[in-house]
Symmetry: C2
Subunit: 195 residues, 2 copies
Amino acid sequence: MARPRQFDEETVLHAVCEQFWDAGYAGTSLQDLMRVSGLGKGSLYAAFGDKHELFLRALRRYTDAVDRGVRRTVESAPRAVEALRAFVVSPVGDPDGAAARRGCLLANTTTELAATDPVVAEEARRTYAGITQVLAQAVARAQEEGDVPASADPEETARALLAAQQGVTYLGRTGMDVRTLEATARSLADRLLPV
Amino acid sequence: MARPRQFDEETVLHAVCEQFWDAGYAGTSLQDLMRVSGLGKGSLYAAFGDKHELFLRALRRYTDAVDRGVRRTVESAPRAVEALRAFVVSPVGDPDGAAARRGCLLANTTTELAATDPVVAEEARRTYAGITQVLAQAVARAQEEGDVPASADPEETARALLAAQQGVTYLGRTGMDVRTLEATARSLADRLLPV
DNA sequence: GACGTGCTGTACCGAGCGGTCAACAAAGGC
DNA sequence: GCCTTTGTTGACCGCTCGGTACAGCACGTC
């Protein structure tokens, strides 16, 4: 047999993900990746391929986590409408606004790369299609529970909620005051999910 | 006297703006800027300072144009509510989706740089504060014209509309199908501006 | 037409980039 | 204890980056 790896792949991907999240794709150098992962260039290349492949691995890990998070929120909510409201307000994050300013790794890197990197664009569309589906099912459940008018189209409502959530995410990234941001998110939830 | 400039500053800023819009800040090299402007390095540096200063000049030119565009739309609309609807749908652009995929220079570069460049973040906040104000005035006018319920808070409504518009802008950048994108934008306008 | 000033093009700089490679280290099989 | 295999390390590659320096050039003035 051969020499075993001295690092945990998941741990490295997590650290790399955080780095890309904070500095973007172009803003992250191989030196940064070596520093946060604790690995040498050779090990990174042997284990994950080049910078772009490593980024995609980290991005997919992140989108999987986001997808699972949304599903869990919907499944565990006593009433579906609460999960939908929570989804719209979720980008606000902590009260000091650090999470809001950080934004979403997928949104940040899609904005940076979508125009030139079809793989990233496809990953974004795939992720949002999945989220839209989960939200649409939640809207249907909220209709059964009497919290959303039966006249609303579930999928259209889901897409409106997704767009609203992404808008809140972006305004958070601009550094908008957290209380104003939260008020905006709640206002959107109120208007898109009338009582 | 000395040798006069052989280029028009506005023309150069326009070309530079387009380049940053297409490729982002980090994705644009000085060579790119020389190519699209037709100027040498020396001329660029003498006229605009370094890359970052040149970028800020181009960005401010862009945000000024956006601000003026929104004001003009509101002023020239027969009914204010039409301008508000048009604002939310505006990121959709042309039917083939090229404009939607391109997104907004301010949104793209804010997402890329806001975390590390306080000047860009401030420029974004300033621009959106101005747009919010114009939208709020339009909401108030729409209320006078009987198109928006008098119970709505103009500023809160304006911020909800802005977030929705930015969400649509982002979904457009992911490459979402244009018809779906337009339906989402119209749906948001319908829900945020009830009849 | 000589002058001087500011624009222009180019050669050049050090630094950092992403990526490669060969030598070395650590494990289990024999 | 040697061999094979794989992981690790760090030196090294060519290249492009943003930025500077400078020589020459075109123009309005006098």
